[in-house]
Amino acid sequence: MHNLEVRHLGRMGFGEAYALQCQLVDQRKQSLIPDQLLLVEHPHTVTMGRNGHEENILASPEVLEKTGIAFHQTDRGGDVTYHGPGQIIGYGIIDLRDWKRDVVAYVRGLEEVVIRTLAEFGIEGTRVDNCTGVWVNGKKIAAIGVHISRWVTSHGFALNLDTDLNYFQYIVPCGLTKPVTSFRDLGSEASREAVEKALVRHMSEVYSLSPVEPALTMESA
């Protein structure tokens, strides 16, 4: 079984986290590091995927700026989405050659990770045909967007824990005019720590990895 290094990054700006991702992706491609799961929380940010449509951002850049929301264009799949406090972002840097050479299976796997995690907290998450992500009663609780280069994945999922859902009004999440929800919205008081723990466990199970602390490093000449 291969290792999955889990990094808890805490609150980190989108740009900084993206730079770290790129660096790790590069190292993963060279097999210098094992598979990675980065867990992070971003400040208010609106990001746009490769296939994004500007018209899906309802607020003008000036409004976004005034509200203190950063805007980033990214290379993940999918349309526009919102990240912010109260969200658990999971970035997976996985070499699919060690698992399945199947990008769709990878995305279905991320959905599975979230669905199993929700189940632990008594929430029933489902898939919706042609709408990647995880849904609870027709409301989206987790968004997914992935980039792949040489079978190494980056980006991942954004799960709403106690996100202020009002911020989604600035965008049409993923181009769909469907409502969003969160753990809190559904009445769950689950803690960030507990949900992250469950995510790590299910991520490891779904992709047959064993979770480890990062960067063993060490020293001496």
């Binding site: 190292q27 799949g77 999918g78 199947d102 990878y106 980039h147 490093t217 020293e219 001496s220």
Partner: protein, 430 residues
């Protein structure tokens, strides 16, 4: 001419949307260089070029969705490309690797050669700063020949003035450095630039890997925390070498891995630690922590870093067990499959730089430990024994210890104990 097709990125996938071309027709592409991007189900994938050549034809435009295995482009091999873009004319002759995009690095400004000045030195000039330290010989030559070194241009490392520079200066064969007016100190240490250097970027920027950053932090931290002292002892490894030579084939056959010198050294170090437990301690504020377990870290070189996996309770293992642990930990270190508990809890470390040919080195202590033993190469050398010359297998063992806790006398007693165990080795390993 090679066809590029829409790849199948998964079992259930029958089509893909080509979202973006990363190369233009007529542009050169290297094998494995990203050529275009496709999108399937919220996944964006970069597709690398299957071959090196020139992108001669793009058959599917960005935005179109096509079935897998549809030909999306053609790549011709090199020169014969019908280059539509006049700029991207195919390189004639053996195409040099595509010029690396000039990484925008402020390369040190190429310095023009110092203007030639007539040999009459301006006597007023304040003795200009010379670059780098001066050797005693250069000082002496300057003094004896009454040369102002500020007027001699240095050609050594970092602009350092060498004996040859002084000689050249005396014979007047080399232009003197422009005598600098008081106000303008030399801008940067500049050695005479080697002739005809290309103007390409002189620096390539690469971020430090996480591992490299951690190693860097730890090394500097260790040097700051501990008072490093290294003592070196010569050890006659002949008995161990003979034993190893005699038994290594059978050892390999029986256990499936080779027999090296390292497990003997680990075993000897464990015995010495039992005699001198302070070597297995660490400092905690104003206390000494004596570790009851002897957990030996073994430094393992990785491609671009190193890691020190730990053999726990190493004193309880024999040579076979130690060798097995070393082989296993090293292999898993290189494939990054070590568990976290296998790289922590070390109480003493050993580094085997001899395997890279080093005679001896001065290793850095692996904090919070207080000593590290370095094993130099085992070499056959002539030695004098009872006034006769004999050939013996000799290694240098270098112990770096933390002088805050350990004094030289103790460190040397420890080394003598290691030496005594190795030199008197009689036990078979099979």
């Amino acid at each position: 001419m090679i066809d590029v097709v829409m790849p199948q990125m998964g079992e259930s996938i029958v089509e893909g949307t080509l979202t973006r071309w990363l190369k233009k027709p007529g542009e050169r592409v290297e094998r494995d260089e990203p050529l275009f991007e496709i999108s399937t189900d919220k996944v964006d994938t970069e597709i690398p070029s299957p071959t090196a050549g020139v992108l001669s034809e793009v058959l599917v435009e960005a935005g179109k969705t096509v079935a897998i295995n549809t030909v999306v482009a053609r790549i011709s091999d090199g020169a014969a490309a019908p280059a539509p873009a006049p700029v991207a004319a195919a390189d004639p002759a053996p195409a040099p690797p595509a010029p690396v995009a000039p990484v925008a690095v402020a390369a040190p400004a190429p310095t023009p050669p110092a203007p030639v000045q007539p040999p009459a030195p301006a006597p007023v000039a304040v003795a200009a700063e010379t670059q780098g330290p001066l050797s005693p010989l250069v000082r002496k030559m300057a003094r004896e020949n009454n040369v102002d070194l500020g007027t001699v241009s240095g050609s050594g490392v970092g602009g350092r003035i060498t004996k040859q520079d002084v000689e050249a200066h005396l014979s007047g064969s080399v232009p003197q450095a422009a005598t600098t007016p008081v106000a303008a100190p030399p801008p940067a240490p500049v050695s005479v630039p080697p002739p005809a250097r290309s103007e390409a970027a002189k620096v390539r920027v690469e971020p430090l890997s996480t591992m490299r950053q951690k190693i860097a932090e730890h090394m500097v931290m260790s040097k700051r925390v501990s008072a490093h002292v290294t003592t070196v002892h010569k050890v006659d490894m002949t008995k161990v070498a003979k034993l190893r030579a005699k038994q290594k084939d059978e050892f390999q056959a029986r256990y499936g891995f080779g027999l090296t010198f390292l497990p003997f050294v680990v075993s000897a170090a464990c015995q010495a630690i039992r005699s001198f437990p302070l070597l297995n301690a660490s400092i905690d504020g104003t206390n000494i922590l004596f570790h009851n377990d002897i957990n030996i870290g073994i430094a393992v070189a990785l491609e671009n870093g190193l890691i020190v996996p730990v053999i726990s309770a190493a004193d309880e293992k024999n040579v076979v067990g130690l060798q097995r642990s070393i082989v296993d930990l090293a292999a898993r270190a290189r494939s990054r499959q070590l568990k976290p508990n296998e790289v922590t809890g070390g109480t003493f470390s050993i580094t085997n730089f001899g395997s890279f040919g080093s005679i001896f080195a001065t290793p850095v202590i692996n904090q919070p430990q207080v000593a590290i033993l370095g094993v130099g190469a085992v070499e056959k050398v002539p030695v004098v024994i009872d006034d006769a010359i004999a050939i013996r297998s000799v290694a240098h063992l270098a112990l770096t210890f933390d002088h805050r806790l350990i004094d030289g006398a103790l460190a040397d007693q420890f080394c003598q104990k290691v030496k005594q165990v190795l030199e008197g080795w009689s036990e078979s390993v099979l």
